[in-house]
Every structure is written in structure tokens, then in C-alpha cells.
Symmetry: C2
Subunit: 400 residues, 2 copies
């Protein structure tokens, strides 16, 4: 029955086995005997279900899915062994019975709150432990063909929403009005309903529309164009700012299909684009073209940032590249998948060669303080031969 | 300029001083010398700004707002001293210089990830520490008149969205279509854009529409009616299920104004409500009436749950009250404010007398497995004399 009302395509068993296998190789290398997976997205990634409970992945065996609630759904969703429990206090005996305990546990210390960690340590009863969050993030960084297919469907949704944008952008309309109708369009065709970002304080709205100075306000969020929002309590996103003739309107939107998030940005303008924005717009486009030509497996991700930065610099735009002043961010792209801040991060700081199966958003943007922001963001798949775009949406600035 | 594009009403200084003062009394009682506040919502609550950084609240002095990014906004938003820093490594020397260090630190251990905690301990350099999350939650539980005014405006928004609901609910329409247009309505009039829930794995969509069996599917979320959602990756919320004649449609929605979240549910039906749903509908209404008559400061919150449960029991509905089978939840209400899972929790388990200034959602709901769910949810303010509703929306089931 659930299959009739949603996109209930379950994660294929061989994909799940491959994911657990790759994690276990890393665990084995670090002397970790079993992973304790608690965060909901990680649990879904490794088992195919997000129902309530904890997942144990022994280094030499299939994952054990302890389920406290949502048993029926868990059974339909995961091919692995499900162990129904009333709560996590029953986990210990089962692990002892299977000789998984005692042993060194690996945990998601980047997201596990201190109290949750201490409770888990007490009830599961491991003594030694290690942080395996970087292992998990690096396994999740490489997408399977099943995952790329989910991302393509998410990108398809995103493209349909962007196709509807031109007729919604009119002089005098507020950012919020434009956002509301476009987000509704995505949800109607089945957008999964949430935008996920890993870590404490990491939150993001589904779409942000900026129509002028609101796109230039620096705020806490690590993004080049964050928007002012409508309140200091949520200082990001669209506002009541109205569209003006000649001033660019950026729309940054994330598609959401079967858990997989895409993330692209388009720039629109009513009438003729004001002179001041033209060079930044052309440069963003040139950076995209150059990157699509240049990037391929083996190229270091720092190169992508540094070459883009140099192109901005050569055109006298260094001060506006990826934000302005304190709002400038040190990256030009980020991995996407089940969360919007996956690996790789495309920054000048941390070296990481591109690998086949990475999928990332690439977003050259320029912020002209007080005036407005422009930019393009596309999603890219690293293939054996180079870079392939996830969607085929046109990326030129659209004049209305 | 920002004031022109949003609801930028800043938090009054005396409210902020009162909040810090109440926290400091609790800190002093527990021998804690200063609080280290890192979570974004707590930082906003205690300072009025959510810009990037850490907040230190000495037990005997005003909060210090360390800001790494969003300096200009922070200045407009908080009346407290702002200390610009490049990163948290600069905090230690300043605290030493002000004799705040050495001393016992209090931290939000319910939400702080282990890695963040360890980094904070290392760079700030405290040795002794304590968990102050329950202090913070109990301070936030009691709302000021300013906060109640924000909640009323959030409730006003919610009421306007519910007023638009009847003309959107038609036989054959999907849950997603109804949700999309109503959420768009709220966003257009300035909904702040996010729904916040405290803690790891706590996430919730802004609205969920259930039009039949989808309202009866148990899932991981701790709520009586969660919805099936459209994917195992986000197993909650609306789906492609279509509205049927005679089957109740529940709409659970959260208003969002200036950070403050409201949370109400209405039940609608196209045509005549099927017999099986009538007694549950009447009982939900009777539980609301009885609670509004009965509850007042001093009454224990457990009473509210237990009396409602007994009313359901007396009418032969015990098996369907607040969910069915493994989907049954042990509470009938929860505090609301900046997050949707604030104190008090109205459960039969933890005693806590009602106090003036508490604001909570109260949600008697019934789940009839395979058939559908019904229920009402209202937001309540505990006043000196009893309970006042936050909105004046009619709560009877609406027949269309």
C-alpha cells in the first residue's frame, strides 16, 4: 500500500552490502571491531531503513538492525537481520551472545551528543572506542550507480521547478511569493519534504530567493549567498524584498527525491541586467565552462577552487568572489547526497583528488555589497573520463 | 534596511536580562561558574542574535557574545557586549583576562556532539564541567509576555492558513497537493521558513496532511499521527494518497513567526464522516473541553494525560488513543516556543505541575488502523487563572 503513495523504491541489497563492506575495510584498518550507528541518515544509508533504533555493524559480518518502533516498515525496507527490542538496554546481551562484545566500538562522534554517547557507552557496555565519522563520510562520498540514479531523479525534479520560475518572477513580487509558489510546485510533484545538513546548527531552507541587497547580507551560514531571512531567529532565506528591474534574482534550490538532495542556482533578471553585474555573470559562466573542461579523476579538488579564484582575480573581482568581506566563504563546492554538506569540499585548503563516483555542487558566485548577488550552481558527477552534469538545465542568466 | 523586508522585531533587552538572570540562579545553585552556549537556538534565546560564534554567560555578569561572522547583524540584534573573534581559539585569553577562567563550565550536553565538546574543552580550557541542558530547557519553558506575543502572531499566521484549508480539500486531491498550497500560503505571509526540534535525529516537516490509512502507519517519529511520507529516507509527512469521501483528513501545521513555532491540528471530511470515526472525533473534542475547564497552575501535567486516557478508556477507545499498537505514544502534549519539543511534556510518566507562562500544544488524537486518524490539536497558555487558547480557530471537525 505504501508503494502506491510515494517513491518507495527500496535500496538494493547489493548496494547496502557494498556500503557496509567498504566501511568494514576502514574499521578493520583502524582496529575497530564494530560500528554503532545512531544518526538517522547514516542508519538509512547503511540499512535502507530509518525506523527507530540502533544499527550495529560488526567488522566481519552483516549489519544488525535493532528496531524499537516502526517494525513493519523496517522489515519492508532492509534486507538485513532485524532484532526487535523495547529499548537500547537489550542490545548488550545480544552483542555478548554473538561475541561482538567485548571489542572496540566505532561511533559517529561528529554528530552524537555527549549525553547520547555516554548513555550508549553505558548501556551497550563497550570500553574502548574510536571516532569513525570521517570513515562514514568518506564511504558516503562515493556514489553507486543506484545513488546517481536517485540524484538524477532529484535533479529532474529541480529542473521542472526551475522551468516554472520565469513566469513567477515579475517586478514588484516578493522573494517569499516566488519561493512559496516554486517550492509548492516541487512538493506537489513529490519532493521528499526536508533539506538535510549534517552537524549541530546546520540547517537550511529548501529554496532561497534573493532579489537585491538581501543577497549581500553576511550571516552565520557557511554559504556565499544566504539571504537575510525574515527574522534574526532564522537569519537566512527569502524575505519581503521585491524584485526590481535590472537587479539579478538568484534562486538556490534543492531537489529532493527518495532522500537524495540536489542543489542548483540560477540567476534571472527582469529587463536589462545592470552594467555592474555583467562581468561577474560572465565570469561565473566562464568558471563553469573551464571547470567542466578541466576537472577529471586525479585532479585535486583544491585546483578547482584555486583556478576559479584566479579567474575572478584576473578580472578584478577577487573582492566579490564567493561573498564579500566577512561573508566570503573559502569553498566553491560541496558534495551532495543524502545531506547537503557531504564530501568533497572544494576549497583551497584541504587537498583531496577527485574520484569517480563523487557528486558535488559547484557554485561560482559573486556578491556586490549593497547591490546584489549573482551566480550559477550546477551539480556535477565525476565519471571515469571527466565531469558530467547531473541535470541539463540551461545555465545562462535568464532575461525576462 | 533589513527591517523593511522582514519581521525584524528584536528581542527586548529586559527580556534577555531576565532570561540570563534565571539561568544564572540555576547555575549558582549547582556551583557552575559560567555557561558556554553553542547551539544556535539557545544562543538566540539568551542574546537575541544567532550569528556565528559562542556565548559565555558568567554566573555574576552579563553574557559575552563572541562573534566570528555576521558582526553587523549581531550588533543590531543583541544589547550585550560583542567581542569579534576570528575563531574560538581566541576565547580563552579573554576569559582568563576577565577572571571567568578557571572555573566550572556548564554546557548543553544534550545537543553538543562529542567532537564539538572536546574541541571546546581544549580551546576554552576549562577543567570541570557540568550538563546544564535541563536548566536551559526549564528557563525556556516559562514564556515572557513578549514571547507570548510572538507566539500569538505565529498562531495568527497558523489560523490564516487553516482558514484557507476548506477550499483546498477536495475528493481525489493528494495530500501533497493540499500541503503544498497551504504551506505556500503561510510562507507568502511571512512564515519564518523552518520547523525546529531539539536533539539528534529530531526533524519535522512544516505541515503534514493525512487522508486515510497513511495517517495510521507507525513510524520512527514520536508523534501519534506521523504520516507515511513519500520515501523510506524521510518516513513522515504527506504522500500521494488521495482524499476520499467520508474519510477524515487531518492537517497538522506549525506557524512560524520571528522564531516562535505554533502547532495545531484540524480534522476535515468531504461529505458525511464514516460511522467508525464519530466516537473518536467526539471524544477528542470532549477531552479538549474538559482540559480547558480543568487545567490551571498547580495541577500536575500527568493529570492531563491520565484524565484524557481515562476518557478514551471509558468510551472503549483505549487501543486507538494517541496511536495504535507500536505507534502509540505516551504523551498528549508538549511545550512549544523556539523549538517544537520544549517542556513541559504532558505524559503520564513525569510529574511537573503546570506553571503560569507555560505554553503547550495539546493533541488528543485517535488512530484507527487501516482506516484513518482523527484528532484536534490546540495551543494553550497557562495563565494565573487557568488555560487560555493561543488562537481562536474553531476546533470542530469541518464537513465539506
Amino acid at each position: 500500500m505504501l508503494e502506491d503513495v510515494g517513491a518507495f523504491s527500496y535500496v538494493p541489497k547489493n548496494d547496502l552490502e557494498n556500503r557496509a563492506g567498504r566501511l568494514c575495510s576502514l574499521l578493520a584498518g583502524a582496529g575497530v571491531d564494530f560500528a554503532v550507528i545512531i544518526q538517522n541518515v547514516d542508519r538509512f544509508y547503511f540499512t535502507g531503513t530509518m525506523q527507530k533504533g540502533v544499527v550495529i555493524i560488526p567488522v566481519d559480518n552483516d549489519p544488525l538492525v535493532f528496531v524499537e518502533k516502526g517494525f513493519e516498515r523496517a522489515e519492508a525496507e532492509t534486507p538485513f537481520e532485524i532484532i526487535p527490542v523495547k529499548n537500547d538496554r537489550q542490545v548488550r546481551d545480544i552483542l555478548l551472545g554473538r561475541n561482538i562484545l567485548p571489542g572496540k566500538a566505532g561511533l559517529e562522534l561528529d554528530v552524537l551528543p555527549v549525553n547520547t554517547f555516554e548513555r550508549t557507552q553505558r548501556v551497550v557496555g563497550f570500553r574502548e572506542y574510536a571516532d569513525i565519522s570521517e570513515f562514514i563520510r568518506s564511504v558516503r562520498m562515493i556514489k553507486s550507480s543506484y545513488e546517481i540514479d536517485q540524484l538524477r531523479q532529484s535533479g529532474e525534479m529541480l529542473s521542472r521547478v526551475f522551468e516554472a520560475a520565469p513566469k513567477e518572477i515579475r517586478e514588484g513580487r516578493t522573494e517569499l511569493e516566488i519561493e512559496a509558489v516554486l517550492v509548492a510546485k516541487g512538493r506537489t510533484i513529490g519532493h521528499h519534504g526536508l533539506m538535510r545538513m549534517r552537524g549541530l546548527n546546520q540547517e537550511m531552507v529548501m529554496m532561497t530567493v534573493q532579489a537585491g541587497f538581501t543577497g549581500t547580507v553576511p550571516t552565520f551560514l557557511d554559504a556565499p549567498i544566504t539571504g537575510s531571512g525574515v527574522t534574526p531567529a532564522i537569519p537566512q532565506g527569502s524575505s519581503f524584498k521585491r524584485v526590481e528591474r535590472g537587479i539579478p534574482v538568484t534562486i538556490d534550490y534543492g531537489g529532493g527525491y527518495n532522500g537524495y538532495i540536489t542543489d542548483e542556482t540560477r540567476t534571472f533578471v527582469v529587463g536589462e541586467l545592470k552594467e555592474i553585474f555583467r562581468k561577474p555573470c560572465e565570469t561565473a559562466r566562464e568558471i563553469i565552462d573551464e571547470t567542466l573542461r578541466y576537472a577529471r579523476p586525479g585532479i585535486d579538488s583544491t585546483e578547482l577552487f584555486l583556478r576559479a579564484q584566479k579567474m575572478a582575480d584576473d578580472r578584478g573581482l577577487a573582492d566579490y568572489f564567493m561573498g564579500h568581506g566577512e561573508g566570503q566563504v573559502p569553498f566553491i563546492g560541496h558534495g551532495i547526497g543524502l545531506e547537503i554538506n557531504e564530501l568533497p569540499i572544494l576549497t583551497g585548503r584541504h587537498r583531496r583528488p577527485l574520484e569517480e563516483g563523487m557528486v558535488f555542487a559547484f557554485e561560482p558566485k559573486f556578491v556586490l555589497p549593497g547591490h546584489g548577488a549573482v551566480g550559477i550552481e550546477i551539480d556535477c558527477i565525476v565519471t571515469a573520463n571527466g565531469i558530467e552534469r547531473l541535470t541539463s538545465s540551461p545555465i545562462d542568466i535568464v532575461c525576462l
